[in-house]
């Protein structure tokens, strides 16, 4: 037991939760929730958007990925930075013009509501599940390492905390919470990076040389390895990371929290700056973790495995450069931000069940608010149980890797439907649901029979499907099915869908006379 680290951990977690609670108290209306009452600047909102993206999962997972696989892990870091600009270039203006910021709302402006809600809820739940796995594994390992608890119990502790956190009421990821989270993560990251580089006289070459000298794979870790062995998976991963962001259910919502378009765009620029700086930092932190933890008996066990699991590289690194105090601080920041992300995800999942499935589809809109809240609570509880189960099943998986699977599902299901709904007149409800479902189911099935689950979780020797992630197959499949089914759709609803697109884009069209 490390008393200093645990003490600081508890203090900082309490402090962060306190700030969260305080911010939640100040948030009363939906307006407050998204725009912080319209008082925040583009710069602040940029930090908030960055806070949504820079999960502790990315921080822990990417550092761990570099520790295990060297430069290959950095391909994930580079990929994560390409998602946000795509959202800006392709979606931002259209969404703003429609005045709708959630996937379901956008698509329902022109397609039939109920089938789209069912699809969107299913897709959200799958993406949320993959994301939750990542966060649960990260948080579980952190608690296990810090308190010396068994992983099984650690998962239950995290699960219970997560359900309490959500049930506690309203402690959702408000703009201020996201700002606090982003600032803390940036401070932690840059503090470790600075201390680390100081160790090596601010000479990156020296740091890398040391990393290559101690790692069992030697100098090979400094260069990309897996793309040359498996180019198709590399491109598939690139596709998922680049386009997945645009399909994540909770991202678009956050996207326009500033009332006027000008500062909204500015905030996007700041968000990209902070996020990309953070991911660039992984280049240093990842190899720093290699240089200072590999072969050091304080951080690895007799078999040479990292104590506490592969996702703990960043935590050990913080200890190596800053001692117990730094470790306590970084653990607390990581844990508190994981809780915030988990809460946001759970709420997104619960509202998919209570609002989209129950209120709109099962009860066809005839439901009183109390019943909907009840369903939402039950859904939260069930999601908590599911998260604990998945966290145990996926024990030892890399967090950043699990997040990339969520991206693969998002880019094969919601992304194609969203893009086509915004840009293609021909898309019909039938086509959207068929294509989105084809992408969702194929991405899910191919992930399960692929290396991610079939080999790493179920322990088979070889995967039934080689691509990891499957986006290279499932994304074209989703687009193709959307197109084909929409083309063949002769229904009345299809005609309405096309006409509604024309109505939306009247402004662009030449006056028909």
């Amino acid at each position: 037991m490390n008393r200093v680290a645990i003490g600081l951990f508890l203090v900082f977690v309490a402090l962060t939760l306190g700030i969260t609670w305080w911010a939640a108290q100040r948030t009363r209306s939906a307006e407050d929730f998204y725009a912080a009452g319209g008082r925040i600047t583009g710069f602040q909102n940029g930090l908030a958007i960055a806070g949504d993206f820079m999960s502790a999962g990315a921080f822990l997972g990417l550092t761990g990925l570099v520790l295990a696989n060297g430069f290959d892990g950095l391909i994930y870091a580079v990929g994560y930075t390409t998602g946000m600009p795509i959202v800006v270039f392709l979606l931002a203006e259209r969404l703003r013009r429609l005045g709708r910021f959630t996937f379901t709302d956008v698509v329902c402006t022109r397609l039939a509501e109920r089938p789209i809600r069912v699809f969107a809820a299913c897709a959200s739940l799958v993406v949320v599940a993959f994301y939750l796995i990542a966060q649960m594994v990260g948080a579980g390992q952190l608690i296990q390492l810090l308190f010396g608890l068994d992983y099984l119990y650690a998962e239950f502790v995290v699960g219970v905390l997560m359900v309490c956190y959500v049930m506690f009421g309203g402690m959702v990821a408000t703009t201020w919470v996201q700002i606090v989270k982003a600032v803390l993560l940036l401070i932690a990251g840059f503090a470790i990076g600075g201390l680390l580089l100081a160790r090596f006289g601010f000479d990156l070459n020296a740091l890398l040389a040391r990393a290559a000298a101690v790692h069992p794979k030697g100098a090979a870790i400094l260069a990309p390895q897996f793309p040359a062995k498996d180019p198709l998976s590399a491109f598939s991963l690139g596709l998922a990371l680049m386009l997945g962001t645009a399909g994540l259910p909770h991202i678009l919502m956050r996207f326009f929290t500033v009332p006027d378009a000008r500062s909204a765009r500015l905030s996007v620029f700041w968000a990209a700056t902070f996020m990309n700086a953070f991911f660039a930092l992984i280049f240093v932190l990842g190899f720093g973790a290699v240089a200072l933890t590999v072969g050091n008996p304080a951080y690895v066990d007799a078999a040479g495995m990292l104590r506490g699991g592969g996702n703990m590289a960043a935590i050990h690194l913080s200890h190596a450069v800053g001692g117990d105090a730094m470790m306590g601080f970084v653990s607390a920041v990581a844990f508190a931000t994981i809780l915030a992300v988990v809460a946001g995800l759970t709420l997104a999942g619960a509202s998919a069940v209570s609002h989209d499935l129950y209120a709109s589809v099962v009860r066809r809109g005839h439901v009183d608010e109390r019943r909907e809240v009840q369903v939402s609570r039950i859904a939260t509880f069930v999601l908590g149980l599911v998260a604990i189960g998945l966290g145990i099943a996926f024990k030892g998986q890399n967090v950043a890797y699990m997040v990339s699977l969520a991206f693969a599902v998002a880019c094969s299901s919601t992304f194609p439907v969203l893009i086509l709904a915004l840009y293609w007149r021909g898309l019909t409800t039938l086509g959207a649901v068929a294509g989105g479902t084809a992408g969702l189911v194929s991405a899910l099935v191919l992930t399960v029979v692929g290396p991610a689950v079939w080999v790493k979780v179920l322990g088979h020797a070889a995967p039934l499907f080689p691509l990891d992630p499957p986006a290279l197959v499932t994304l074209p499949l989703a687009f193709g099915t959307c197109w084909l089914v929409s083309r063949l759709d002769r229904s009345r609803q299809g005609a309405t869908d096309r006409a509604r697109f024309d109505a939306q884009h009247r402004l662009d069209a030449v006056p028909a006379e």
Binding site: P85, F89, L90, Q225, A228, A234
Partner: protein
């Protein structure tokens, strides 16, 4: 929000920048995949920082630069459109 003129949507620019970023990112992956020896070559003789580092960080930097460019162009276009609608000397 809906009162914003549709003509300020710089879709062409968006697609161009999207193409640039995609080309850079998949170019990076492609070089890693098909020219591993080249991407592993050290930048300076005897150094440990190799070409792949520079390319990877380059893609990250490019993302910020292109986003910045888009924001500047879109904001200017919008300001122009607003001036054209409300400013003096407008003729119908």
């Amino acid at each position: 929000m809906s009162s914003e003129p549709s003509t300020t949507e710089p879709l062409g620019l968006g697609l161009l920048l999207l193409g640039l970023l995609a080309a850079a990112f998949f170019g990076f992956i492609g070089l890693c995949a098909f020219a591993p020896a080249w991407s592993a070559a050290p930048l300076v003789r005897g150094g440990s920082v190799n070409v792949a580092f520079v390319l990877g960080l380059g893609v990250i930097g490019l993302g910020v630069a292109l986003t910045g460019l888009y924001v500047v162009v879109a904001n200017r276009a919008e300001a122009r459109a607003i001036r054209a609608r409300t400013g003096p000397g407008i003729r119908r």
